[in-house]
Amino acid sequence: VFPNGCAVCEVEVDPDTGRVHVVRYVSVDDVGRCINPMTVDGQTHGSIAHGVGEALLEQIRLDPRSGEPLTPSFEEYGIPSSTTLPPLTCEIVEVLSPTNPLGIKSGSEGATAGAPACVISGIVDALKVFGIRDIAMPATPLVIWQAIQQAQARRSPQGEPE
């Protein structure tokens, strides 16, 4: 018996800058019996932000020679801001667990697992017109812009823009 869920998002990619906007995000989670929906929803929002942050922004970088952290503050390490996410739609489905008297599974943090796949799938779908089949996280504007440039260079071997 596992908690499980589903997440769907709509993203827009600006091909000139590589910038991603998540314009809609919907999730449904089966948490077993939901004792306090208000706090489960609150945790779900936060865990979506964690997952979207991982997909779009967050990476700990170390200097390969010295091991020195290169992302020690918010100047270098990006976390989601108030404008990163759209208004979230989160629903809960209660499929009671048979393994304990309360019917509880676990809640709230499942969204962190689904969000990166959800967001990156959306980005790859948007970029399939360029022949791009995968994007590494974090999908920063630079990563996406470079992928678009490389895809275009592959299509026209002289390096001329199409």
């Binding site: 208000m38 609150g42 100047e75 801001s81 108030s82 404008t83 208004p87």
Partner: protein, 157 residues
């Protein structure tokens, strides 16, 4: 050492401090008002926001001597006794926090937003909150709370 006098939450406070003392150190270490938090120390997270003559400022990026003679409001000065301010009540009602570390900064920031814009839209709130960071909530309920808090403040007026 230098002498500063700052009106904090309606009470005049005079202390002898080192000139390099930050406003947030003055509040936390000299006055014991630990509701104002230090998150990043680099003016990005907004956990240390207080009102200086009504305007939201990052108190980790300001010297206490710069606030000499001014009036400062911290999170401790927002409620009236046991009665929460409408903005605080809205944060509680809408579950606009998880760990709560950033919450004082968000409440103080929201009070300055509503002072400037009595009826902020969701877009206004999101843009205004770019100076506050939250790791736990995804901002969703904070935005709802500030919208509701602004409406409650308008009604209370």
């Amino acid at each position: 050492m230098t002498r500063v006098t700052i009106d904090v939450n309606g009470k005049r406070e005079t202390r002898e401090i080192k000139p390099r003392t930050l406003l947030v150190e003055f509040l936390r270490d000299h006055l014991g008002l630990t509701g104002t938090h230090v998150g990043c120390d680099t003016t990005q997270c907004g956990c240390c926001i207080v009102l200086l003559d009504g305007c939201a400022v990052n108190s980790c990026t300001m010297l206490a001597v710069q606030a000499n003679g001014a009036s400062v409001t911290t999170i401790e000065g927002v409620a009236e006794g046991d009665r929460l301010h409408p903005m605080q009540a809205a944060f509680r009602e809408h579950h606009a926090l998880q760990c709560g570390f950033c919450t004082p900064g968000f409440v103080m920031s929201a009070l300055d937003l509503v002072r400037r814009n009595k009826n902020p839209t969701e877009a206004d709130i999101r843009y205004w909150l770019l100076g506050n960071m939250c790791r736990c909530t995804g901002y969703e309920n904070i935005i709802k709370a500030i919208k509701a808090g602004a409406a409650a403040m308008a009604q209370a007026r």
